[in-house]
């Protein structure tokens, strides 16, 4: 692949990951959020694929297939079932409204740019500049977890954090070891399965799955 084509493609794919995070902040409908998450997983896989082709690393190409399968297909499908179980799953009373959320997400991207500078200096040039996007997705994930009250939104926030970290890992290093990536992907999948089962049980025990209702335990 030619140098400029690679740099452009990589930038586009990484930006798609960040844009999907913004879409998740913008949309309230759970179905739309799950779609955005699937797209984000696919974009993340594309980043890994481009890096793998560029470095002629078979392992990284394998990792990219794994990422697309887990984060682009399996995890969103698992989430879609939770949504289907609760048809009224819209974020009805978020703690922060949409415009303010989008402004915050933008501000977090600037913060991420500052945080990622020491990493960008170490990473190879075309991808080093993009590391901040991963950091931004991570911070937006935190924000989503803190500002929304539906159980599904918390899972989505957690997945955003995870995708952000994966993007940083791909861009900053020349590909994390396969063992680590395998373990991480498997763990993410298991965590989502566990959260899904918990959410279903909470639906049956507590009625709606609203984190705001979880107030029994305190000092």
């Amino acid at each position: 692949m030619s140098g400029s084509g690679f740099a452009g493609g990589l930038g586009l794919a990484a930006a798609a990951v960040l844009v999907c995070a913004m879409v998740i902040v913008w949309r309230r409908s759970a179905t739309a959020i799950v779609h955005a998450l699937a797209l984000q997983g696919a974009s993340l896989g594309t980043v890994a694929l481009l890096l793998g082709l560029h470095q002629r690393s078979g392992v990284l190409v394998l990792v990219s297939v794994l990422v697309v399968a887990v984060k682009g297909a399996v995890v969103p499908r698992l989430l879609a079932r939770v949504v289907a179980g609760d048809p009224a799953s819209r974020e009805t009373a978020p703690l922060v409204n949409v415009p303010a959320s989008l402004v915050t997400a933008g501000a977090l991207s600037f913060l991420a740019y500052a945080v990622a500078r020491p990493l960008a200096a170490l990473a190879p040039p075309p991808s080093g500049r993009l590391v901040f996007m991963g950091m931004a997705v991570l911070l937006i994930g935190f924000f989503v977890m803190a500002s929304r009250r539906q159980a599904i939104s918390q899972i989505v926030g957690l997945l955003l954090v995870d995708n952000g970290i994966a993007l940083v890992a791909f861009l900053a290093t020349a590909g994390v070891p396969l063992l680590l990536e395998l373990g991480a992907s498997l763990d993410v999948m298991l965590v989502v399965v566990v959260l899904r089962v918990l959410a279903t049980r909470m639906q049956s025990v507590l009625g709606r799955v609203d984190i705001g209702q979880l107030r029994e335990l305190h000092d």
Partner: protein
């Protein structure tokens, strides 16, 4: 070969527990854990004076520190799995749990033990991360095993907070990998702990500083260090007693073990100053949080949970000193705390079973009404409060001594004040529980079975023997401390 057998034992026991639960399945689980403990001792004898043991093509590596942690896991898990038989029998008898649901519990407990063993035996810090993350997955359903709204809430908080925390640790691990890629040396881009230690002086300090901060946040969440502790009192108080014993007794220490390994690398890269600062902040905050919340505690299981936060704070301060004396004391403390805390959680499970309330205000005069339970609870509290003859006295004393020697006089004195406050608070709660006024509902005490009390007495006796003389462990502790400290 030996480390592989140790890892395989709980997995085999988990396989045996898949069928609908019967008591013999529980005893198989307990005996497999007992074998882990025995093999852990054998392992320790092999590595204490020799070279580390490598197995599975370098994936597993056992030095004195790993072997010591295997012993800690084995001893606490033995107490917990033994008591699990009683817990499950009782839950099934009371109709709160089916045999199928009980088998889920038995499988998960063994899987939980296996993941902790993998964490301490792994040579690669990436595998260490995967194992610690896997402990979260295996324990979530255990925390919510009783299926009540409170238990579900506790497990939800637990998995969400710990997953976020452990994601930070993942980022930290990735940054360590990034630093090692650029370190030059013979094996660039390696996550093997020994290679990282060898390359430590060439790692990029800026990246390592960020990495250490993230690792401390991440593994610190699992350790229960303030301010990332908020899941701990909920999870530990809602989980079934044997699970609380495992989580409080060893899971916290296993996460702390990860921090010790990374601290050793960071100490070489950055000097002791920066890691020490982070650990002192985490340790002191934990002590202060524990002290302030223990004063007003109304629930005895939560009281024990906050007490764990205190002990993890003390251990973090000990690790901040980073001298061999300090680390040896930290490790002895981890074992002593594990045993005493496991015994106390198991006793509190029995108390909950016979009194059916976990409120301190509604349980009185245990010592006269239920002498066996009351006596064990009292002895356990004495051990946890760091009074002689129990080993926690020696380890706390030595940690403080090491802190003063390395110039941490200020943090050590703050710790002493917090410990005094906690001592007073726990004594007041304990006096109410154990002595208290004659309660109106003085039911006839049904004596606690020997099968239940004997292992608990054994746990406390071990703790006391280690306090009088650490001889069986002395050389192992020193060897383990020298793995990470010089």
């Amino acid at each position: 070969m030996l480390p592989v057998v140790i890892l395989a034992l709980p997995l085999v026991a988990a396989g045996a527990a898949v069928r609908p639960w019967r008591p013999w399945v529980g005893w198989v689980g307990a005996s497999s854990v007992a074998c882990v403990l025995v093999l852990g001792v054998v392992l320790a004898a092999r590595v204490v004076s020799g070279a580390p043991l490598i197995a599975l093509g370098g994936l597993l590596r056992v030095d004195a520190l790993s072997a010591f942690m295997v012993i800690v896991i084995g001893s606490v898990a033995l107490l917990a799995t033994w008591q699990s038989v009683r817990y499950l029998t009782h839950e099934i008898g009371a109709g709160r749990c089916t045999r199928r649901h009980a088998s889920l519990y038995a499988v998960l407990v063994q899987a939980f033990v296996a993941t902790m063993l993998l964490a301490v035996l792994a040579s690669n810090v990436g595998v260490l991360w995967v194992a610690v993350e896997a402990t979260t997955v295996t324990t979530t359903f255990l925390v919510g095993h009783r299926g009540t709204a409170k238990a579900l809430e506790a497990s939800w908080k637990y998995i969400v907070i710990c997953s976020v925390g452990i994601a930070m640790a993942f980022l930290g691990t990735v940054l360590v990998y990034l630093a090692s890629e650029h370190a030059g040396g013979s094996t660039p881009g390696d996550l093997d702990w020994t290679s990282l230690m060898r390359a430590a002086r060439h790692l990029n300090p800026g990246v390592m500083r960020l990495a250490l901060g993230l690792l401390l946040l991440g593994y610190g969440t699992k350790v229960g260090l303030a301010p990332m502790h908020s899941w701990l009192p909920d999870a530990h108080s809602q989980a079934p007693a044997p699970v609380s014993a495992l989580m409080s007794g060893v899971l916290l220490s296993v996460a702390f073990y990860a921090l010790l390994r990374f601290e050793a690398i960071a100490n070489r890269t950055l000097g002791v100053g920066f890691p020490r600062l982070l650990l002192v902040i985490g340790g002191l905050l934990s002590l202060l949080v524990a002290a302030s919340l223990l004063l007003t505690q109304r629930d005895y299981k939560r009281m024990l949970a906050y007490h764990s936060i205190e002990h993890m704070g003390l251990v973090a301060l000990g690790a901040a000193a980073a001298s061999p004396l300090a680390i040896a004391a930290v490790l002895l403390h981890v074992l002593g705390h594990g045993l005493a805390k496991a015994v106390l959680f198991l006793v509190s499970g029995e108390i909950l079973l016979v009194e059916s309330t976990s409120e301190i205000a509604q349980v009185r005069a245990l010592l006269t009404r239920r002498p066996a339970l009351g006596g064990l609870f009292a002895a356990g509290l004495i051990a946890l409060l760091g009074l002689p003859p129990f080993s926690l006295f020696i380890s706390e004393f030595n940690m403080l001594r090491a802190e003063v020697q390395t110039g941490l006089v200020g943090p050590a004195s703050v710790a002493l004040v917090a410990m005094a406050v906690i001592f007073a608070a726990v004594m007041a709660h304990g006096r109410h529980l154990l002595l208290g006024g004659a309660s109106g509902s003085a039911t006839l005490p049904s004596p606690t079975p020997r099968m239940v009390t004997l292992p608990l007495v054994g746990g406390l006796l071990t703790c006391a023997v280690l306090g009088v003389s650490a001889w069986p462990l002395q050389t192992l502790l020193v060897a383990a401390a020298h793995v990470v400290a010089r």
